[in-house]
């Protein structure tokens, strides 16, 4: 049965890798859009000056 531990660890590694990927992807997209809004505001303010 000990041989089957590789299956257990593979399943857990895949699960948390997949959750990590979707989490990081969401956070990066959130940061990017916030940065774009910030840059847009700066650009608009500079043009108004």
């Amino acid at each position: 049965m000990e041989d089957h531990l590789i299956f257990v660890y593979s399943a857990y590694c895949f699960t948390f890798f997949a959750l990590f990927i979707i989490g990081v992807k969401s956070l990066l997209a959130f940061k990017k859009v916030n940065k774009d809004i910030y840059n847009f505001d700066i650009e608009s303010n500079n043009k108004n000056i």
Binding site: M1, H4, F7, A11, Y12, A18, G23, A29, F30, F40
Partner: protein, 242 residues
């Protein structure tokens, strides 16, 4: 529920709600997943037949539950979207789809990994596995369809119709093991005559399921804020061009 929806439909109010709720959701996610992992890997007994491989159940089953629950929530959002044309319902549905697809993929892959030592095969086209695979394809179709339209409203409408059509797959997934003779085992937790699983195995299963639920809620809030900011940016550009 409609009143809560109307209250949160305002982007500023939703941002305040998300800002206040998100830290608690993240903390809940880490606590439940951490304790769930401890129970799953160290503090639950091996199965008398399957041995240690039964531990795959503690990620496989909660992921499968989440795959169906996220789709059910998308179905409810689609009804809100089509009947009341609620903008927040569109956004919630759009932002739920990638997370639901990922949970479905986790259920499929971990199920396949569990299948090899217990059934002797990675995959079999039985009713349960095939219907979950169809759910994954519907998720992918929804993600592609919603983003295929230039007009967000048209994309959301097409996505809502697809979600409602795909909702027929949910009872098929749930009852496939009863309706057909499948290699997949029948339900042992969510069934009419109560769970038949031992409490020592039930505890890690529930803890992981709550942890996954918090994960969904945490990243849904982030995705919705991203989408709201994306739409705000789009409006600012259009305003600037005019």
């Amino acid at each position: 529920m409609k009143n809560i929806f109307n209250f949160l439909a305002n982007p500023s109010r939703f941002r305040i709600f998300a800002k206040n709720v998100h830290p608690f959701s993240l903390i809940g996610m880490f606590i439940f997943i951490f304790i769930g992992l401890w129970f799953s890997l160290y503090n639950s007994p091996p199965d008398y037949q399957q041995g240690e491989t039964v531990r795959i159940m503690y990620v496989h089953v909660p992921a499968a539950w989440m795959a169906m629950m996220v789709y059910l929530s998308m179905t409810i959002m689609s009804i809100f979207s089509l009947v009341w044309r609620h903008p927040l319902a569109d956004i919630l549905s759009k932002c739920s789809a990638p997370i639901g697809a990922m949970f479905t993929l986790i259920a499929l892959v971990t199920g396949s990994i569990w299948g090899k030592p217990t059934w002797g095969t990675w995959w079999v086209w039985d009713a349960r596995l095939t219907s979950v695979f169809i759910l994954f394809l519907i998720y992918m179709g929804h993600i592609a369809l919603v983003r295929a339209f230039e007009d967000e409203y048209k994309g959301a409408r097409a996505g809502a119709i697809l979600t409602l059509l795909g909702a027929f797959n949910l009872p098929i997934i749930k009852f496939s093991v009863d309706w057909w003779n499948t290699l997949h085992q029948p339900a042992s937790v969510i069934k009419l005559d109560g769970p038949s699983i031992h409490i020592d195995m039930m505890v890690p299963l529930v803890l992981m399921a709550i942890g996954f639920l918090f994960f969904y809620f945490s990243f849904l809030l982030i995705n919705v804020q991203t989408e709201l900011n994306h739409r705000k940016l789009k409006k600012l550009f259009i305003k600037k061009l005019n």
